[in-house]
Structure formats: C-alpha cells, structure tokens
C-alpha cells in the first residue's frame, strides 16, 4: 500500500480537491444547463405533441365538416330536384288547366259568337223580311196605284198584307 502511495504520489488533499471539482461541475452543469435544457425540450415536445393533437383534431373536424357539407349539399340538391320536379309538375298542371280554360273560353267565345251571329242572322232575316214585306207592300201599293185596277178585290189585298 505504501509503495502504491509513493509510486503514484497519492495525495488525499488532491483527491478531495478533484472530487470537489467534479461535484462543482455536476451541480453547475445540472442546474445551469441540463435542467433548463431538459425543461425547454420537454415543453417544446409537449407543445409539438399538443400541436399535432390539435392538427389531428382540426383535420377530423374539417373531415366531419366536409362530410356535413357534402351531406347538406346533396340534401339540398335532392330537395331542389324535388322542388323543381314539383314545380314542373305544378306548372304542367297549371299549363294544362290554363289550356283547358283557354279552350273553354275559346269555345265559349265561339259559341257566343255563333249565338250572336245566329241572332244577328235572325235579326237580319227578320229585318230583311220586314224590309221585303214593306217593299212588297210598297211595290204592291205602287203596282196597284200604277195599275189603277179595281180588279183586286179587297180580300186579296188583305192576304198580301198578312204576308
């Protein structure tokens, strides 16, 4: 042991000093560098993990919103299609109704026109008749006056008047 101590110049004071050196370095490095660095690294990792988690949540949310949007759009399309179809059907019915109504009205107008025409015709015929009669009477009278014949008996005259 003595030879070991003398050969290597073992000095307990230096051993203690070297131990103190190491302990000082350990404490300084731990409290000034390692601990704050690890704290920052941990915080950053947590932030990154949180960020990734949020991004995943947002992606999920976007996916869901997209799905909802697509569902709403397809629903709206379906509804629009239905509304369009209904509208078309309604328009067709309306058109049909209107055509029918127009047809009826045309028919009515034609009928009333016909009626008016008929009544006008009748009226004209009657008027023509009246005019013919008056013309006949007038012509007969003139004829009679011009002829001055008293061959006509009064009965025949009466008959002509009746006509």
């Amino acid at each position: 042991m003595d030879s070991f101590i003398t050969t290597f110049h073992i000095d307990w004071q230096i051993i203690i000093a070297q131990a103190i050196n190491f302990i000082v370095v350990l404490f300084v490095l731990y409290f000034l560098a390692l601990k704050p660095l690890k704290k920052v690294m941990k915080e950053r990792t947590e932030k990154i993990e949180g960020g990734i988690e949020n991004a995943n949540k947002n992606a999920e949310l976007i996916k869901n919103t997209q799905k909802e949007y697509e569902a709403i759009i397809s629903k709206a399309k379906e509804e629009a299609h239905i509304i369009f179809k209904e509208g078309k059907e309604e328009a067709m019915t309306k058109k049909k109704e209107m055509l029918e109504e127009a047809g009826k009205e045309v028919e009515q107008i034609i009928t009333s026109g016909k009626k008016l025409l008929e009544s006008e015709k009748t009226k004209m015929i009657e008027e023509a008749k009246k005019e013919i009669v008056s013309l006949v009477v007038l012509s007969t009278e003139k004829l009679l006056e011009s002829t001055n014949t008293k061959n006509f008996d009064e009965k025949t005259l009466e008959q002509i008047k009746k006509i």
Partner: protein
C-alpha cells in the same frame, strides 16, 4: 532477523521499481541556450506547480480547474441563451443530450433510470473528455523550469487531470459510491446491504431448513458471494481509475516519445489517435458508471422470485 531482512529487501525493491519507472519515461529535451541540459520526465504522478499555503497544486489539478472553468462558462452561456427555438450552442447541446439519452436508454432499458443517472453520467463524460483533450493541448508548450535533483527540469503547466491517479480515483470512488446510493434510493437500504452482507441468506437457514435442507450448503455460499460483491465494488474503483489513468498517461508518454523522436511531424497522427482515445475513454467511463447505476437499481431477489413464479406457472400449465 528474517523480518528485518525482508523489510530491507522490500525497500530496495521499491527503490529499484521507482528507478525503473523514472528511467522508462525519462525523455530528455536538450536546449543549448544556456549550455545546460533541461530534462523532461514523463512521470507517473502529477508535478507540483505552485502552493496555496500548505496545499500543493499539481499540473493535473490545475488542468482540472481549467476544465471546471470551461464547463461553468458553457453552462452559464447555455443558461443565458436558452430559448424555446434553439440556436447555436443550445442546438448542439440539445442534439448531444437527445443522442446520449437514447444511448443510455439502450443500456438501462428504462427511461426513469436514465433520467436519474443521466446528469451524473453526462457530467462524467464531459469532465473526463475535456481533461483528456486538454492534456494534449499544450504539447511541449508552456511550463516551468525548476532545479531538480538531476539538473534543470521542465515541468509542463498543463497535464491531463486524468493522467494522474489522484484525478481518476475520486471520479471512480464517486461513480461507485453514487451507484450504491442510487441503489439504496431505488431498492432500499436493506436490499442494498444484503447484496454485500447477505443476512437474508443466513436468516433463510432457520426459516427454510425444514423445507429445503440443502439451504445449509447454499446459504453460506450466498453469504460468501456477498463478500465477493463487496470486494467487487473496490475492484470496480480500481479498474475504473486505473483504466482511465493508464490509457491517458500512456497516450501522453506516446506523444512525448514520438515528439522526442521527430518533433511536429511524427506526433501528428498519434495526436489524432489520442483525440479519439480521449473520447473512447470518456465514453467507457461514463457507460460503465451507467451500467453500475443500472445494476444497483435492480432487485435480484425480486427478479429471482419472479423467475421462480414463472417457472411454477409453466410447470402448472404443463401439468394441466
């Protein structure tokens, strides 16, 4: 009479041994400026360079102080410049720490143990690495010229802190002591003591002798193994300290030898080799410390119980 003769013989042997050591590493540097020879001995021990009262400051201790100062300055810079978004030195240290931690995980197999042991292991690595490297820095450079027994002697002002057993021994002691304290904190005082003084094994003679008479044979062996473990702890200190000291000192001697043969050119490849050796030795010291920490934190009895339980379970399953 015989004892006196033996003592004289031993003293002679020591003296011869000292001469051999001194002669083996005696590398002389000749200077013609004052027509006097200035010799430089690559001694096994660190040379004193100045005194503070009764306290002798050796060149190895002085180098260690420089290392301490460098590490304190680096720590302060990191503390000041620390930011959420890393830059420069912080970026480098974060990269190193992350790599070192994942490496430690491979050794410990448990992140909790890594987190607890890492500050000590990492500090050991940096402290040893800088000491190893700093010893090479002023190769043949600054030093003191003192009048020795054999004329003028050149004493380098800087010698690697790890090239002195007084520098590696406290590191090894703290490493092994720290591992055992860590063991006490991890598995408890009783279990840690029982690793070395296996009182459980002795106690089991009285409790298990009826069930297993072979315990009379095995328990004393277990008790003796405990003592071997205790001796093993001292062996750890010796192996850690001497491995590091031997390697770094051999490196310095190698560089000095090469420098004496052909200065500037010949030492260069060896200097690069020593830079690599410095890293390897620091790494070995740190990893071995981590291994001791990991071993100390493991409860062997608990593992044995678990193994037995597993075996019983398998036997029962086999029987069914």
């Amino acid at each position: 009479m015989t004892t006196e003769y033996e003592t004289q013989n031993t003293e002679k042997n020591i003296e011869t041994h000292k001469d051999v050591i001194s002669n083996e590493y005696n590398l002389e540097i000749e200077t013609n400026s004052s027509n006097e020879e200035i010799s430089h001995e690559a001694t096994l021990y660190a040379e004193p360079i100045f005194h503070i009262g009764n306290f002798t400051v050796t060149n190895a201790l002085f180098t260690s102080w420089i290392v301490v100062a460098i590490l304190i300055i680096i720590s302060i810079i990191i503390k000041i410049k620390i930011k959420q978004i890393p830059k420069g030195i912080q970026n480098f240290f974060e990269f190193v720490i992350e790599g070192a931690e994942s490496l430690c995980d491979q050794v410990t197999g448990d992140r909790k143990i890594t987190n607890k042991a890492f500050p000590i292991v990492f500090t050991i690595f940096l402290f040893v690495l800088l000491n190893n490297w700093l010893g090479m820095f002023p190769f043949g450079g600054f030093g003191l010229i003192e009048n020795g027994e054999h004329g003028k002697m050149f004493i380098p002002i800087i010698r690697s802190g790890t090239a002195d057993i007084n520098g590696t021994l406290p590191l090894a002691i703290l490493s092994v002591l720290g591992a055992n304290i860590f063991g006490i904190l991890s598995i408890g005082l009783w279990k840690t003591i029982n690793k070395f003084i296996n009182l459980n094994a002795l106690g089991s003679i009285f409790t298990k002798i009826k069930k297993d008479p072979m315990i009379l044979m095995t328990a004393p062996i277990m008790f003796a193994v405990g003592f071997l473990e205790l001796i093993g702890e001292f062996a750890k200190i010796a192996s850690l300290s001497f491995r590091l000291f031997g390697n770094v000192f051999a490196g310095e001697v190698l560089l000095a030898s090469m420098g004496a043969m052909l200065a500037y050119i010949l030492p260069t490849p060896f200097l690069l080799l020593e830079v690599f050796v410095g890293v390897i030795q620091a790494f070995i010291f740190a990893i071995l410390t981590l291994v001791y920490y990991t071993i100390a934190s493991q409860d062997h009895e608990h593992e044995e119980h678990q193994e037995k339980h597993q075996e019983n379970k398998h036997e029962l399953e086999g029987a069914h």
